[in-house]
């Protein structure tokens, strides 16, 4: 039976804020100068509308016509060398006081690894016509940075901006017959009314069950570029080795892969739209559910972004606790990756799954001690952490740190030297450093190809500059290299943990700024002021100065970035998540071409994806 009920959207919208602080505002113009900005301004002159620093990031506003020229210059100029386009996103400013300015803007994050520079480029979208409506459009950067392909498709899908010259302008996340572009401001949040009464005659019940659209899950037409001369098979969305609900359309010549077209969005949960309807502090709980294997890192990335926009100082102890949690999470995530990778490749290798999850359970126990939850922790909050570590935590952690190195070596001994394992991994899924940079890969996918870059060391946050650790790299660029690399990363995490636990300072575990961080529970019983702050934070939240900011952290899978555009209210005006899995998964076609079908499974495991983060 086809499910063809038209979507019914909730008629009411949540108020943006209980107490609007004046009018929403556009981002202020950037100020200041740097070498790079001078060089760009010198080359482009009047085509650069504004350039400067904003929240410490270099920002350039460029005319839309000059976007491609600017990107080429950024990449090729020997003094700039921005090798990678990290992220593409967009903002619909229709609810802001525009004064005739363009409604849509696209925002690009460029990164120079060799020079350790980050640059944000903002450009207005032109408006064109299609049928009898106007549509925003802008030049595509795919011809300059290959990795722009998926992010641009995502922007088109969710925001409706067309990219001129894009090789494959299809929707990427939503079903192809979806009626709107959900992130546009006039598109409703959707959902159903929650019925609060108990009579079935109530009109509230009318919306129940109407959230279903005739979503054509299996697109019947062939993806562009594939030929029926070859065999085209379908992997997923229900497949044991796709690590979730990923669908791959694989074109095969015999058993060799000719090309792969991933079909995403089976777990699209509308995180970004939801974020725009939540207060800043309430979105922390959602970040857990994105990359659910590294909830702590997700919490951390989001909180750091908001804190940087607020200019909030985090107490020393909170910083160290955050580092402990983030590194434990990295180990947990890598252990799970190891377990599933071995399971995928060997088909029946259940033993490593059992062993690795045994140690992972210990880490989850530690999390549980700290915050009561195993998986969706929400432990790291804006301003610090939720509550202080219990006394037994440090002892338990030390215990764990004594145990884990030996376990890692044990797992290594189980597979690393095994001839079958090497056969399946060595030389498989090769990606060169140039390709990795062009495709915008991050994390182990980048380091596995020999690019020596780790945000913890090169753009430190949370006090990572105070720890000694190595950033392992591998030159082979294949699955085997990435495998040994991740094992080594676990050892380095243990090193960081040992230093952190030895130097855990005493003091506050969250900021004393009552305008942002909740007062401790005990204070509420004795202090009226604390009660007022608590009430104010819980009902209204806090306001963030107008502006925008991108901040990335090194999560277990790569660079996890958050982009927030604030209009001065208590909710983000636009919230975008740069998930490392999303960009890394883009490489699957490149990695698998010319290899066997069974290697596709190896490659998926080696990229280490979490679908919650890919689809968001």
């Amino acid at each position: 039976m086809p499910l063809d009920v038209a979507p019914v959207f909730r008629s009411y919208e949540t108020q943006r804020t209980l107490n609007p602080p004046g009018i929403p505002a556009l981002a202020p113009p950037p100020e200041g100068e740097t070498e790079d900005l001078q060089r760009i301004a010198g080359r482009f002159g009047d085509d650069i509308l504004a350039a400067g620093l904003h929240h410490g990031n270099q920002v350039v506003y460029a005319r839309p016509g000059q976007l491609k020229a600017l990107a080429t210059f950024l990449r090729d100029d020997p003094q700039l060398q921005y090798e990678t386009l990290i992220d593409v996103t967009s903002v619909d400013r229709s609810e802001l006081p525009l004064d005739g300015e363009a409604r849509f803007q696209t925002i690009y994050q460029f990164r120079s690894y060799s020079r350790n520079q980050h640059l944000t480029v903002v450009t207005d979208c032109l408006s064109g016509t299609e049928g009898n409506g106007t549509i925003p459009h802008v030049d595509s950067l795919t011809s300059i940075y290959r990795g722009a392909e998926w992010p641009e498709r995502e922007v088109f899908d969710l925001m409706g901006i067309r990219f001129d010259g894009h090789p494959d302008p299809r929707r990427i996340l939503m079903p192809k017959n979806w009626p709107n572009h959900p992130l546009q401001k006039q598109a409703p949040l959707g959902g159903e009314e929650v019925p609060f009464t108990f009579t079935w005659d109530d009109p509230e019940f009318e919306t129940l069950g109407t959230q279903i659209l005739a979503a054509e899950s299996a697109a019947p037409d062939l993806p562009p570029g594939m030929s029926r001369q070859n065999m085209v098979i379908n992997m997923g969305p229900h497949h044991p080795s796709t690590h979730g609900v990923l669908r791959l359309v694989v074109e095969l010549d015999g058993e060799r892969v000719v090309s792969i077209d991933p079909d995403l969005g089976f777990l699209h949960s509308g995180f970004e739209k939801t974020g725009e309807n939540k207060r800043y502090k309430d979105f922390v709980y959602y970040t857990d559910r994105m990359d659910y294997l590294s909830s702590m890192s997700n919490n951390l990335g989001y909180c750091l972004t908001v804190e940087s926009m607020l200019g909030l100082e985090i107490p020393e102890r909170a910083q160290v606790i955050r580092v402990i949690m983030a590194e434990l999470q990295r180990i947990a995530s890598h252990l799970f990756w190891l377990a599933t990778h071995v399971l995928d490749v060997s088909g029946t290798g259940m033993s490593l799954l059992m062993y690795a999850t045994r140690e992972r359970e210990r880490i989850l126990d530690l999390f549980e001690m700290a915050c009561g939850a195993r998986l969706t922790v929400s432990y790291i909050r804006i301003g610090g952490v939720w509550q202080d570590l219990p006394d037994a935590f440090v002892t338990e952690l030390k215990d764990f740190l004594r145990l884990i190195p030996q376990k890692i070596s044990e797992y290594e001994a189980m597979v690393t030297e095994a001839p079958l394992w090497q056969e399946r991994l060595k030389g498989v899924g090769h990606v060169s450093a140039e390709d990795a940079l062009a495709m915008g890969l991050t994390g182990p996918m980048l380091r596995g190809s020999g690019v020596d870059w780790d945000l913890r060391r090169d753009r430190p946050y949370s006090g990572y500059e105070g720890y000694t650790f190595e950033v392992p790299t591998r030159d082979s660029g294949d699955c085997y290299g990435r495998f040994t690399l991740r094992l080594e990363e676990m050892r380095q995490s243990v090193r960081i943990l040992e230093q952190a636990v030895d130097n855990l300072p005493t003091g506050l575990y969250k900021s004393n700024n009552r305008k942002v961080a909740l007062p401790p529970r005990a204070e509420l019983d004795v202090s009226m002021e604390a009660l007022i702050h608590h009430f104010k934070l819980m009902t209204e939240g806090f306001h963030v100065e107008p502006g925008f900011f991108y901040h990335g952290i090194e999560s277990s899978k790569g660079e996890l970035g958050f982009f927030i555009y604030s209009d001065g209210s208590a909710k983000p005006y636009r919230l975008h998540v740069h998930g490392p899995s999303f960009n890394n998964l883009y490489a699957i076609d490149h990695l698998s071409r010319g290899e066997m079908l069974s290697d596709v499974v190896t490659n998926i495991g080696s990229i280490d994806i979490v679908l919650g983060e890919v689809d968001r």
Partner: protein, 175 residues
Amino acid sequence: MGIEEKVPEGILTTSLDSVINWGRANSTWPLLFGLACCAMEMIATGTARHDIARYGSELFRASPRQADLMIVSGRVSNKMAPVIKRIYDQMLAPKWVIAMGICASAGGPFNNYAIIQGVDKIIPVDVYVPGCPPRPESLLYAMDMLRAKQRRETIGAGRKVEEPLAVEEITPLGV
């Protein structure tokens, strides 16, 4: 479906019932199928510490044809809904469904355009497990409830007991 529906109720069918139900309740094979965060806890339930093998359910089957139980472990998006329906239809009767977590039960934190507010909008659900995500222990308790339910099924048609389960019927494993 077959001859058993024509047979009148009697000693033969009730004894047969208890044998068959004993078998079904002790070897319910789940479908190897994870959706979101809850799937991680489902996997944790399958591993050594929580050991779902005590229920005879450690054999997660990738093919819906070989599975008896679908654990809907996570949020169901509009794009995924038809797929889940198709997979459910492909499973052979008798089949059961556990809606694991608040997302699968009622949409959870995602009351928005993308997520269906409860998998029971598209397939029938036997046991709902609250939690976000439910702990492995919760899932095991859901298995207990399912076993209680399975134990009172009969092979004959139209003789299903419709009263809700009493708490005493849900015996923890081994009791």
